[in-house]
């Protein structure tokens, strides 16, 4: 086991889990994180429990981050970026830059866990994100829930009475060339609705979707409980446009009502866009440094097993926290395999 050291690029949930998993196997590692804190995308998520836990895994992220800062085998370098890699598989020399200073790190293997970007909802101007105050993204809602503990209309701080969730914003959309499903957003939005309705049963929620995508073990019961709730409407129809006025809180839209088959117009006072995941904007730079192949969508594909470079988490394609964790554990085992066992 001596002399083995893994360099983990990215300190999100995948990178942090990898470090912990490797530490348990007795392999030290260094996490290189570009931001000034660990956790990445997942660290802003709020707990979405209703009367019971809805398995959103937000608490796991907090737990893992606390854990990793207390694990002596893991060295954490925040505000650090990867500049270049030399050497050969098994004996990499990675150059990293932090606070203007350059350091050379030796590593037996590299683990890339750079994650994803969220889709920029401004690229779909018809939904008016950035123009209408009360059109927000699911991530905005999450941050709101985490920091204030409740749901409020950004325009006047009042509790909304009717909330609409739009699915597939930035996913499954040929107009922007995104031909993939982000996998997590259906379950994510349904959990949100459960949490909001539990906190305030006065709020009516509607969920506009194309197809409901299952995710994970307890999805069936989640979906069933959502169907039974009269304050939650699941509508198979995606409105194409949001109409509103900058001064008014009311947002209107038209959609085909699947029950009557007619086009109806309805107003909402908060619209939440379930934005999808896209490959990172800087995905190319790391791909070039490490020569990682990419698939047609722009996510990373696994390099050959003998290259000493491993991938884990959402940089391979959209994934939720639970799957990122399982995927990372499996990658840790592949690293052990690569290093020739214990």
């Amino acid at each position: 086991m001596r002399g083995r050291h893994i360099l983990i690029i990215g300190g999100g949930i995948a990178g942090v889990t990898a470090a912990l998993e490797l530490a348990e196997m007795g392999i030290p590692s260094t996490i290189v994180e570009r931001e000034n804190r660990l956790g990445g995308r997942a660290s802003v998520f709020a707990c979405k429990a209703s009367e019971k836990c809805n398995k959103c895994f937000a608490c796991v992220v907090d737990n893992q981050i606390q854990e990793v800062t207390r694990t002596p085998q893991v060295k954490i370098m925040t505000r650090t970026t990867l500049e270049g890699v030399s050497g050969k598989p098994g004996r990499f020399k990675a150059q990293v830059q932090s606070n203007g200073g350059k350091t050379l790190l030796e590593a037996s293997a590299l683990l890339v866990a750079t994650g994803v970007d969220f889709f920029d909802a401004r690229c779909k101007p018809e939904y008016g994100y950035g123009m209408f105050q009360n059109v927000i993204t699911a991530q905005d809602l999450d941050e709101m829930l985490r920091s204030t503990g409740g749901v409020y209309r950004p325009s006047d701080g009042k509790i909304p009475s009717k909330i609409a969730f739009f699915q597939c914003v930035g996913s499954r959309d040929e107009t922007i060339g995104h031909l993939w499903c982000s996998k997590v957003c259906c379950a994510y939005a349904l959990r949100f609705m459960k949490a909001i309705r539990h906190q305030n049963p006065e709020i009516q929620t509607s969920f506009f979707y194309i197809d409901i995508q299952p995710l994970g073990r307890s999805f069936q019961s989640l979906l069933q409980s959502c169907r039974q709730d009269e304050g939650m409407r699941l509508i198979r129809s995606l409105p194409s446009k949001i109409y509103g006025r900058r001064t008014s809180t009311d947002l209107r839209m038209r959609f085909i009502d699947p029950v009557s088959g007619e086009i109806v117009e309805e107003g909402f006072d908060l619209i939440v866009l379930s934005i999808g995941m896209t490959p990172r904007q800087d995905a190319d730079s790391i791909a070039q440094v490490l020569q990682i192949p990419k698939n047609e969508e722009g996510f990373y594909r696994s390099p050959p097993e003998n290259s000493g470079i491993f991938l884990s988490g959402a940089c391979k394609g959209p994934r939720d926290i639970a799957n990122s964790i399982i995927d990372t554990k499996s990658t840790a085992q592949k690293i052990i395999q690569y290093l020739g066992g214990m």
Partner: protein
């Protein structure tokens, strides 16, 4: 208990980055310093950072204190780093307590005077409790590098291969005559061009050739006992011969049950199951033909009837529809509730299928079926064509309808759950110890579950789970020994009545009842000479120290070493 005169308590006051400063002012520090047994009282801005804590422990050594009370936030902030520190400082890691004035006072009591009173009471109780602390030792169990994988399907095979490559000896058990499981029913992967059979053969051969893997076929699971490092599995082979297999850790990989849907009209020969479709596609030359040699012109895939939230059917239907569409004369319908595209690359295939002319029909209400001249008529309320009214807007006549199978929890799960002691919730799939924090790790230390026995999943997902479970085992077996704190329950055999309450309530199957001595004090009239006195015993490596057995023991024979009754009554008392 040590009398409060003998023990030397060091108190560390954590201001939690200034948020508690209004509470923990000079008067408070004076009050704490005056409490009996307190030898020092130090303050800091943020003790939860390990470096600061380390600095303070330097002072601890100087003061020659033997216990520590931290006044500050939640115990979780300090526990782990303090325990590690305690070990290096030559102090027992369990000789410390936390007075949580942040959550219990600062966040809940707003009146300043009352808050101070409450904080004082909490700190005083903790300081009073400190003399009752007892040092807790550590113990080691040997963990030989071998593991048992139960289940010889693809998940079991992958887990065995991963472990074997990490130099862990594996015994792979299967009830079937040969390893391989259900995966061979597939013809093609949806996402890669390789054909399944050569991949399958490669995996199976890999297992058979690996020097670290021993395969046992045609064996039934009969019993399971032991603990991490020493699990013993009783087996029975087809000839009725019993044998015992040993392993340090266990991965359980049972698939889910897949039952063809043949109820009512689905029993007709025009309705087939997906594996039958796969077989037809494997054997078909150019276009599909029925038994009489007539070409099959229209094929419908009917999915989501039973399992609404399973994406396997959807992926298979799209994959097979594309294969059928290689014959341009064949009309293909996919009748579903939702098209599940949440698999890598599935959205593209779905679009490709639509471009090639596969017709996707979505329903909310269950379709109606009838037979017309030996063909099947499916009437659907198509969601996008329903312009008011309640009619069945579409009727699809097809030669062949592929009805998806029912995915059901494996019937074996009940047997596995009772033999291995893994909880089985209502829905019938095996449950991990904690579905969030310990995915795939079962309630017993060293036992992992992966694959279809957790919930129905695609082959790729299940294989990733197999690898992750293997990584859990590798981590546990990475050292020669597994070391753990003896912060566990302990049973006094003299008091135990062997009533079997504790083995039943223990969520980790950590309690066994075994012979203790030759006599039984509970038989007063008529002393039987050959009667064995039995008593419950805790298996230390299995115990998580949760305390459930302690609270349910009718004879109060069980104590929790790190949380004794005396400590608890001091916490809740006046």
């Amino acid at each position: 208990m040590t009398s409060s005169d003998d023990c030397r308590i060091a108190v560390f006051v954590d201001h939690c980055e200034g948020t508690l400063s209004h509470l923990l002012d000079g008067e408070m520090i004076e009050y704490i310093s005056g409490l009996p047994g307190v030898v020092s009282c130090d303050q800091d801005e943020n003790l939860s950072s390990p470096e600061r804590l380390e600095m303070l422990t330097g002072r601890l050594a100087k003061g020659r204190a033997d216990r520590v009370v931290i006044v500050g936030g939640s115990p979780r902030l300090y526990e782990k780093s303090f325990r590690r520190l305690g070990m290096t400082e030559g102090m027992n890691p369990y000789m410390f307590l936390v007075a949580n004035v942040r959550e219990q006072v600062a966040w809940t009591v707003h009146d300043r005077e009352r808050a101070k009173e409450k904080a004082k009471a909490i700190v005083a109780k903790r300081v009073r409790e400190a003399p009752f602390l007892t040092p807790i030792g550590r113990e080691k169990v040997k963990v030989p590098k071998n593991a048992v994988v139960i289940g010889g399907g693809m998940v079991g095979i992958r887990a065995a291969l991963m472990l074997a490559d990490a130099n862990i000896g594996v015994t792979l058990l299967t009830r079937a005559k040969d390893i391989g499981g259900k995966a061979i029913q597939l013809t093609h992967f949806y996402d890669r061009p390789d054909d399944v059979s050569s991949w399958f053969v490669k995996q199976v051969e890999g297992v058979k050739r690996h020097r670290n893997i021993e395969v046992k076929t045609s064996v039934e699971l009969k019993g399971f006992e032991g603990y991490l490092g020493d699990y013993r599995i009783n087996l029975q082979n087809s000839l009725g011969k019993r044998e015992v297999v040993k392993g340090s850790a266990v991965i359980l990989t049972a698939g889910c049950d897949v039952v063809p849907n043949t109820e009512g009209i689905f029993g007709h020969r025009c309705f087939i199951s997906p594996p039958q479709m796969e077989a037809m596609l494997r054997n078909a030359k150019k276009s599909l033909k029925d038994e009489k040699g007539n070409p099959i012109r229209t094929v419908s895939f009917l999915i989501d009837l039973v399992n609404e939230t399973i994406k396997i059917d959807s992926a298979n239907a799209v994959k097979n529809a594309l294969l059928l569409k290689k014959d341009p004369d064949c009309t293909v319908y996919v009748i579903c509730r939702d098209v599940k595209v949440s698999l890598d690359g599935m959205e593209k295939q779905y679009r490709e299928a639509r471009e090639k002319g596969v017709i996707f029909v979505k329903y909310n209400d269950t379709p109606r079926f009838s037979l017309v001249n030996g063909r099947v008529n499916v009437e659907v309320k198509e969601v996008s064509t329903r312009m008011g009214g309640d009619e069945y807007s579409l009727s699809i006549l097809s030669d062949l309808v592929v009805v998806s199978e029912k995915f059901a929890p494996p019937q074996d799960n009940e047997m596995l759950s009772s033999i291995l002691g893994i909880p089985l919730p209502e829905e019938g799939y095996l449950m991990e110890d904690n579905p969030q924090f310990t995915q795939m790790r079962a309630n017993r230390r060293g036992v992992f579950i992966a694959g279809g026995c957790r919930y129905p999943q695609t082959l790729d997902e299940a294989l990733v789970e197999a690898e992750a479970a293997a990584s859990g085992v590798t981590a546990l077996l990475s050292q020669e020994v597994y070391e753990f704190d003896l912060a566990i329950a302990e049973i006094d055999p003299e008091k135990c009545a062997a009533c079997l309450t504790c083995p039943r309530v223990c969520p980790h199957s950590a309690i066994v009842v075994e012979q203790y001595a030759e006599r039984n004090i509970y038989i007063t009239g008529g002393y039987k000479k050959d009667f064995k006195w039995r008593a419950a015993r805790v298996l230390p490596p299995q115990c998580y120290g949760c305390g459930i057995c302690v609270s349910s023991c009718p004879t109060k024979a069980i104590t929790l070493k790190h949380q004794t009754d005396a400590e608890i009554s001091l916490q809740v008392g006046p």
